[in-house]
Subunit: 243 residues, 2 copies
């Protein structure tokens, strides 16, 4: 019986994989993943078997991994970022209910919140909330409630999936909700293509963010009351005591 | 003029460092850090200069790093977890105001939220809030407001610093607040010594968590309405659509 590793590759560059993630991919004979991520590692490992399914075939992808493990091979299910944060870890454990004899290990990775924060400076030094604006699997009312609650309690907020072709105005809507509780001067930041070619970031006020268009490759950070800009970096001081 | 890398070492084991973090530490002649973390890497790099300051001397530690960089050496300021999440990144950029000529790069790492989630299963598959219960630098009223808002909006909640010698009952207090909004049956998990010797985890209900004593090496996860236990793992399904 093989073992399954669910491996987060980090936000982009190979250098943001952990040593553990690297070792897990290396030791597995079979790599399963979404086509785009498999292409990222394919060249490096010409001797492995690669199995892919397209975007909406996630359940099938998980089943494939378990079936290969049943045949005796160690399998790496790969995804970008951290497998445990809006990634494949949950679905793998859900599908794994049908395969209780197969051991599944989750290997954590750098998610866009951590990776994007490092690009911008240090926005997540204090309590923060991570919210996806995608309403594909979540009712919009629930997202709305979370955005408002996080803004009301002065969390730093990190938004995943801030936009898509069908949801062009979602970031604007979220900003409008946050502006009920946060000042228009709140320091915000956007990071696009974290850890990849063409990585770019911007720091701006919440008022300006409201009228900024971002795409699906962008992660958005909204500061708390104390967040400031220092030498072009977005910084949330750790505490309420002066340095 | 040297460059400064602020490097998160991950939650414990060397294997949870990213390749980038490893490379940054390797290339720097000088390693600065809190005594405990410096001891973690000291053995591996006998040829480097190590500078440490104790717990409350963080500002001095940052100044030391900048002074060494001014002398022309590349410096790694190391801390555990992710430097950008309750770590040293923010303070370094704040102190860096006085040294605008020195370049500072933040190298992200695996924080306890990501690392602990992987040990428990996949609790952070949906929107989550990270809150520190330490009131050393934050008024308790602010912490209380955040715990309540996060519970009210059905976030998965990850608690850092859930306890200390002086704050033995803080987790209990936080659980009582969450129980105003979350069911006593909510699936919760605790992880101690993430990625280190003696790593241990437990899954339990929120009602039981309320009466559980944890220490300062523990990270606590409280599920959302949908979080379930599958084969001994804590899993928050990604969305509201059935698998």
């Amino acid at each position: 019986m093989g073992k399954i590793y669910v491996v987060g590759l980090g936000p982009g560059a190979d250098m943001q994989m952990t040593m553990e993630a690297k070792a897990a991919v290396k030791q597995c004979g079979i790599i399963v993943g979404y086509t785009v991520y498999v292409d990222l590692v394919k060249e490096e490992y010409p001797d492995k078997v690669f199995l892919t399914t397209p975007m909406t075939q996630e359940v099938k992808r998980c089943q494939m991994a378990f079936e290969e493990a049943q045949k005796g091979q160690d399998v790496a299910m790969i995804c970008s970022g951290d497998a445990g944060i809006y990634g494949m870890a949950g679905l793998m454990l859900e599908v794994g209910k049908e395969y209780p004899e197969i051991e599944v290990e989750i290997v954590p990775g750098i998610t866009a919140a951590n990776g994007g924060a490092a690009v911008l400076g240090a926005p997540l030094m204090h309590d923060f909330a991570v919210i996806s604006l995608s309403d594909l699997l979540t009712p919009w009312e629930k997202i709305e409630k979370r955005v408002k609650a996080a803004a009301m309690a002065d969390f730093v907020i990190c938004l995943y999936n801030p936009s898509s072709r069908k949801r062009k105005d979602y970031l604007k809507k979220a900003c409008e909700m946050m502006l009920e509780y946060k000042s228009g001067d709140t320091v915000c930041g956007t990071v696009r293509n974290i850890g990849r070619d063409g990585e770019e970031s911007q720091i701006m006020t919440l008022s300006r963010l409201k009228d900024t268009e971002v795409d699906m490759f962008t992660t958005v950070f909204i500061g708390n009351e104390q967040t400031i800009e220092i030498n072009g970096k977005m910084v949330t001081p750790r505490g309420y005591r002066n340095v």
